[in-house]
Amino acid sequence: MRRLIDNIGTWLGIANILIVLVFLIFPIAVAVMMSFDARDYLGRFPPQAYSIRWYESFFSDAYYLQGLTTSLILAVIATFVSTTAGVSAAIVLDRHTGRSKEVLESLFLSPLVVPAVVIGFALLLFFSLLGVFDGFTRLLGGHIIITFPYTVRTTLAGLVGIRKTLTEAAMALGANERRAFWDVTFPLARTGIVAGAVFAFAFSMDDIAVSLFLTSPDTYTLPVAMVSMMRTNFDLTIAAAAVVLMVFTFLLILALNWAIGLEKLIGQGVFRS
């Protein structure tokens, strides 16, 4: 009897994983396949013939292209700023203990729990209060805020395992605090920092809720462009745009990983002896 329950449990677990996989991968596969559909109307799945006409349509559409360009520039700058700020915040948090640290930490992570729509609306009000009406500045501010919790969190996780004696050893050997940070703390926390940057980039590329509030008529991101096209001119160019967004996100994450040290991530795992 007990064995039966165990078996049922195991099967339910496997079924659970399968269902999740189907719902995760299948829609994406459908979107990718439909983006290559040769029909000029939105037909049933699967496509009867394939072509790249929707991609041609995407790359010849100035509206989409401008969205893509904005998204990429925005994501790169937001990731850079957010990672720098997140790493500094995490280092300060890591050095302190007690009540003030906990309060600060939950404050830094609060954008994770506040609904993005609320953040978007609040930022819109805040920026008009400050007199900032430039779309790009507003978007950048918003994207930094929504990605910041990820960079703080992952850097903190990376710093936790680094023994204090390592920094002290560096200092006893003649390194000042700044040198000790770059020679010891940073390389050891790199895994966490890179993970934060990757998250930040992906979330910036993907965001719609905050961006919707902060766009201006001439500055908008690719997801915003896709949503507005869906309302006005619904065709499979959107599927192509989705695939392009996906590919760019993936490629830039790879590039980022490579630049900051993917080989270490895979080769050595997390450095702790």
Binding site: R163, T165, L166, E168, A169, A170, M171, A172, L173, G174, A175, N176, R179, D183, V184, P187, L188, K264, Q268, F271, R272, S273
Partner: protein, 363 residues
């Protein structure tokens, strides 16, 4: 000339006094052990010397220069951490060269010095390994090479052998001593392990509650502890509390223990107002005699009792003997093939008056 001098160093953390008016000097090439239980302030003393903590009062002097306000990287100390603190993302070579690089030495000089150091610790051929690919003993030698490479004025070792297992510890103790004497390093060893302190240090400084309670050569600390704390902390001991009496012979006095035994003890060295003293007898100083042996009739310092336990630990045999009043005495004998007394046997314990260590009560 003294390389390191501590003058009335006091360090407080809030209301807690971690180091309380500590003064001592270390001469060039000397190895000094800082010995005490955990929380006695020895590690804080080490951190004050290395510059990670600033003394609230008093001064730390390196070869005549006051180190006040100097950060760790402005002092020339070689620090060996308990966990070695080897940089896990660097090779052996990079670890050893790190301090030399910070000093801005040119490349050939760094390479030469590194070679010298790896030779010294017998790790030639391990240059490209990472710390995680080394054994505990090898890691310790890398850490030692790294701290000695910068030719430090003072070498500070924090519990250098405690992370290793007992057998390796003994081997490395000897090696460590050889290496340190080869480079003529002025060294302070911080440890809670009396064996480590006594085998490494030419001089032992015993600390308790932030204060230095006694300092001297290991033999002196063991043979003539000045307080009960020192005697108990270093080596095994049997204790009797009692009151000192009249002079029985030159340098020897009567002593009445609380259990009612009359003993002869040496003249106390530490004067106290009261006549209450504690007597300590080291287990190896006690002679065990079979009671029914008529020729062994010692009138002086003889206690009769019964063996309760015999433990044969290889070279030594440990006896637990109950004497009158449920008082348990530990005695050790060297094993040289003799037939062993058994538990339950009645014995007489004797010890010479000069084997009694007399210290003031409550010290």
């Amino acid at each position: 000339m003294s390389v390191l001098e501590l003058l009335h160093v006091t360090k407080r953390f809030g209301a807690f006094v971690a180091v309380d008016d500590v003064s001592f000097t270390v001469d060039k090439g000397q190895i000094v052990s800082l010995l005490g239980p955990s929380g006695c302030g020895k590690t804080t003393t080490l951190r004050v010397i290395s510059g990670f903590e600033e003394a609230d009062q008093g001064s730390v002097i390196f070869s005549g220069k006051d180190m006040k306000g100097k950060r760790p990287y402005e002092r020339n100390v070689g620090l060996l951490f308990q966990d070695y603190a080897l940089f896990p993302h660097m090779t052996v070579e990079q670890n050893v060269a790190y301090g030399l690089k910070q000093r801005g030495f040119e490349k050939t000089r760094i390479v030469n010095r590194m070679g010298e150091m790896l030779d010294l610790v017998k790790l030639k051929g391990f240059e490209k390994r990472r710390p995680s690919q080394l054994s505990g003993g090898q890691q310790q030698r890398v850490a030692l090479a790294r701290s000695l490479a910068i030719s430090p004025e003072v070498v500070l070792l924090d519990e250098p052998l405690s992370a290793l297992d007992a057998k390796l510890r003994q081997e490395l103790r000897f090696e460590l001593k050889e290496i340190l004497s080869e480079v003529d390093a002025t060294t302070i060893v911080v440890t809670h392990d009396q064996e480590e302190a006594m085998s490494l240090g030419e001089r032992v400084i015993v600390m308790s509650d932030g204060k230095v309670v006694q300092q001297g050569p290991p033999t002196e600390i063991y043979a003539s502890p000045r307080t009960r704390f020192v005697a108990e902390f270093i080596g095994r001991s049997n204790w009797f509390s009692g009151v000192i009496g009249a002079v029985a012979a030159p340098g020897v006095r009567d002593f009445e223990t609380g259990d009612g035994f009359g003993l002869l003890v040496p003249e106390p060295t530490e004067a106290t107002a009261s006549k209450d003293y504690d007597i300590c007898i080291r287990p190896e100083r006690i002679q065990i005699n079979i009671t029914n042996d008529v020729s062994n009739n010692h009138p002086i310092n003889t206690l009769s009792g019964t063996i309760r336990d015999v433990a044969h630990l290889g070279a030594d045999i440990h006896f637990v003997i109950e004497v009158a009043g449920k008082h348990l005495i530990t005695a050790t004998e060297q094993y040289n093939g003799q037939s062993l007394e058994r538990a339950g046997q009645d014995v007489a314990l004797t010890f010479s008056p000069h084997d009694c260590i007399i210290v003031p009560s409550n010290s």
